[in-house]
């Protein structure tokens, strides 16, 4: 199915968020996630279902003022 990952269309083969992150190469990367603008805690990723067209945001630590 196709989903939007940080505003880019990606093809993924699973519906479970934690599996999608592994498939996209974020398995061991320090990230935080939001699905359709709602925060998804790390502990909830394995129970979070993703459907076609969903918007996934993946963020990491960055410089800030």
């Amino acid at each position: 199915m196709k989903i939007l990952v940080n505003a880019e269309t990606k093809e993924v083969s699973t519906h479970v968020l934690s599996d999608i992150l592994v498939e996209l190469g974020y398995g061991d990367v320090k990230i935080a996630t939001a699905l359709n603008a709602a925060f998804v805690a790390k502990t909830a990723r394995a129970q979070t279902q993703v459907v076609a067209g969903d918007r996934l945001e993946i963020v990491t630590p960055r410089q800030g003022g």
Binding site: V29, I31, A32, V59, Q63, G65
Partner: protein, 257 residues
Amino acid sequence: MRQFYGATLSSRLMLGTAQYPSPAILTDAFRRSDAGVATVSVRREAGRGGEGQDFWDLIAALGVKVLPNTAGCHSVREAVTTAHMARELFDTTWIKLEVIGHSDTLQPDPFGLVEAARILCDDGFEVFPYTTEDLVLADRLLEAGCQVLMPWGAPIGTGLGLNNIYGLRSLRAHFPDVAMVIDAGLGLPSHATMAMELGYDAVLLNTAVSKAGDPAQMAKAFACAVEAGFLAHQADPMPARDMAAPSTPVIGKAFLE
């Protein structure tokens, strides 16, 4: 030293981590500033190259407290979601809450700010709201559960200094027991000194250091300026007056006409 949500900081200077010419210069600036807090943000992971992890390793090595922000958020929902992501990423309940109300001035949206602050305080966050010098807004933020206020000196990134001295003095006087940090708009060390002379507990700045020709030296200059302003405030400055008053005694002056 005033406490910030129970934490006693090692310095009255808080420093941002953005816009430095290089990671090495950022590190040098922090070392010379002796800043006790580093502000950080969360942003989209561009690739999978570990850029975020590299930055996090650099910040962790500084040995300072981390204050994540919600910079760039224009709605309550955006700010609250960003705060949750930051709490998980940085493992801290501290959040510098920004809800921007105007794109040109980057001034806070006071209504959204109070709403977001209430949501986050109720959810266990320790909120550092980026606010104005408005007394009523300050009161609402304290009612929402904030124990720290961060009024602006001037719009973010302008370097204009303290635009409303009367308002900032009034805010300090009305809430003498609240930890308050001047956040944003400072351009010169003298601006930081002035903020501390007004009785503020700390200053937070970024661009004034990171965009200086020599960021590390400017960081040191701000550290000295903050200390000077703090000491001056503690020393109980003389009141200003309109008329001149000779400091050298008049009595005993030789008659030479």
